[in-house]
């Protein structure tokens, strides 16, 4: 059989398969009828036959390339991942995220330790020499603190709360995702994000304390601070899991260790996203408000506490039930 006759004879079947794939790539096969799936499977098998024939007789042709691609495409659809169901999304948040958090607890602890080290350093640097603050904080913030006012007041009176919240949470999620992806830089970027945020907070706290602003600062930070910092720490911890896979792959090849650990740790970065949306909304709506500081601290502790309770205790019952 020449190439020409081969193509003319079999091309209608390939076109039929292509048509069916076009349909399926748009929608899950569940909506298709049984007959359609049988037809698809028959066309697929016939085309793999054509591919085998072409591999023997028509090496080096574009037709062979095309058949490779067509079979790959059909194979993709026939062996496709099941569509994501609501149950799976539920399981992901209810079980998989907390399980991953407990599994990678060591890395999260390291992330927390690095953040706290930065915090301590920030506090002691300002204790030692107040001028160090000018290297870290932007001038408007400094000026405002020196004159004995919170810098947040004017800011939040100009920008309406929904806009501010959106800005805050998109920004914070970017930082958290970068802290995770930064694991690929052998953890340097993750380290820097955690450490620098710790230093900033330390410097701000000590400086505000020096100028008698500790009360207002606490009133502002209390609601959202704990949740926001926890989310960044968890995401940075996920970054350290990735970095650890690169630095100490253990029994696996470096490439496999990276893929395996990243697939598992990304759950922590996902956990940070809703937490940061909530903390951003709290920071935009509640933090600048005139609620009594006691209530704000209460909300803050409840939010941060439930985040950690969820990560450290969630999905345990389900895991026990699933066990033998």
């Amino acid at each position: 059989m020449t190439l020409g006759t081969f193509v003319r004879k079999n091309r209608p079947r390939w076109q039929q398969l292509e048509g069916m794939l076009d349909l399926m790539e748009g929608r899950a096969p569940r909506s298709r009828e049984r007959g359609f799936l049988q037809e698809l499977s028959a066309a697929y098998r016939a085309t793999t036959g054509d591919l085998a024939f072409a591999q023997t007789h028509f090496r080096g042709t574009t037709v062979l390339l095309f058949l490779h691609q067509l079979v790959a495409r059909a194979h993709n659809q026939i062996y496709r991942a099941r569509a994501v169901t609501l149950v799976e999304v539920g399981n992901f948040f209810r079980k998989e995220i907390p399980q991953a958090a407990r599994y990678h607890l060591m890395a999260v602890n390291w992330a927390a330790l690095i953040f706290l080290t930065g915090l301590m350093l920030g506090l002691s640097v300002v204790q030692f020499d107040e001028r160090a603050a000018s290297m870290i904080l932007p001038t408007p913030v400094l000026d405002s603190i020196y004159s004995g006012h919170m810098w947040t007041g004017p800011l939040f009176s100009v920008v309406p709360a929904p806009v501010a919240s959106t800005y805050l949470f998109t920004n914070n999620i970017s930082v958290a995702l970068l802290a995770f992806a930064g694991g690929l830089s052998f953890g340097l970027i993750s380290f820097w994000i955690l450490f620098f945020n710790g230093v900033m907070l330390g410097v701000v706290f000590k400086l505000c304390a020096n100028y008698g602003l500790l009360g207002p600062l606490l009133a502002f930070v209390a609601t959202h601070g704990l949740l926001e910092i926890s989310a960044i720490i968890v995401s940075g911890g996920a970054g350290f899991v990735v970095a650890n896979a690169l630095l100490r792959p253990g029994d696996y090849s470096r490439r496999d260790a990276l893929a395996i650990q990243a697939h598992s740790a990304v759950r922590l970065a996902v956990a940070a996203i809703p937490a940061l949306i909530i903390s951003g909304c709290l920071e935009g709506f509640v933090s600048p408000s005139t609620l009594p500081t006691g209530i704000k601290i209460g909300i803050g502790l409840a939010m941060g506490g439930s985040f950690w309770l969820y990560l450290l205790g969630g999905g345990k019952k389900a895991a026990a039930k699933a066990g033998p």
């Binding site: 790539e25 790959a72 929904p162 959106t166 998109t170 970017s174 990243a262 697939h263």
Partner: protein, 250 residues
């Protein structure tokens, strides 16, 4: 000939699939196309927002509208950075608009379709891959790794393949043409040679003159040995006419 890297996959049907791994050029072009789409969208919403902000202050309605637009803009900026690539690659089975334009597709290294976690991993690492001038890290990784995987591809266990579009018309033409009128013994071609010949003859009318002559002589040079012992062997025809004559004798 440029060298193309291929990825070999083994299917459960015991067929070895060879797919062409996408090269740096087309991947860069695809990213530029995607950035262009995002940029255009962002710019238009930005312009709309500033227009609204200038008109705002007159009434409650325009002020709320302006705030809403600002929120939309903020979310879009975020989405262009972190969501656009992932969501398209997830829903469009490994393609973004830019990738579709350049016939690229993301698949898992074992040939199965990508899941949402795979595409999320390969796209979360974009800022790291784009590090350095012109995305130096990602570029280097694509050059160095055998299957052109940047860091995100390694993390997500994915690779980007190129799906070659095929010129089917050469087969129609060949069928329509009457069999040889000359009674010379017919020449046997391998299927690759047959395709080479007919793809050239088919593309001939669209080619600029200089390219046409250059290609003709290069195809001529590679097919000439096959004409040994036929009346074409000593023919003094120009390469292009020679090829037309040659095609009639196969």
């Amino acid at each position: 000939m440029t060298t193309t890297r291929t990825a070999d996959l083994e299917l459960p049907e015991e067929i070895e699939l060879q797919l062409e791994v996408a090269n740096v050029g087309s991947r860069t072009l695809a990213i530029l196309a995607d950035l262009g789409i995002c940029g255009t969208l962002l710019l238009s919403v930005y312009l709309l927002t500033t227009l609204f902000a200038q008109a705002a202050g007159d009434s409650e309605v325009t002020r709320i509208g302006s705030h809403l637009l600002t929120i939309v803009l903020l979310v879009l900026i975020f989405a262009a950075q972190w969501v656009y690539f992932g969501v398209f690659e997830w829903l469009w089975n490994g393609q973004t608009p830019g990738k579709r334009l350049l016939h690229l597709r993301v698949i898992k290294v074992d040939g199965t379709p990508v899941s949402w976690i795979d595409v999320m991993l390969r796209n979360l690492s974009r800022p790291i891959d784009a590090f350095g001038p012109m995305g130096l890290i990602g570029l280097l990784m694509i050059f160095v790794t055998p299957r052109a995987q940047r860091l995100g591809d390694l993390m997500g266990r994915t690779l980007v393949i190129h799906e070659t579009p095929i010129d089917w018309s050469i087969f129609d033409e060949a069928g329509a043409e009457p069999a040889s009128l000359v009674t010379a013994p017919s020449i046997r071609l391998t299927s690759a040679q047959w395709e080479l010949l007919h793809r050239f003859l088919n593309r001939r009318p669209e080619l600029p003159r200089d390219v046409r002559t250059r290609l003709a002589s290069s195809v001529y040079a590679s097919l000439k040995p096959l004409a040994l012992g036929t009346d074409l062997e000593l023919s003094k025809l120009e390469p292009e006419e020679w090829l037309v004559e040659f095609a009639r004798r196969t």
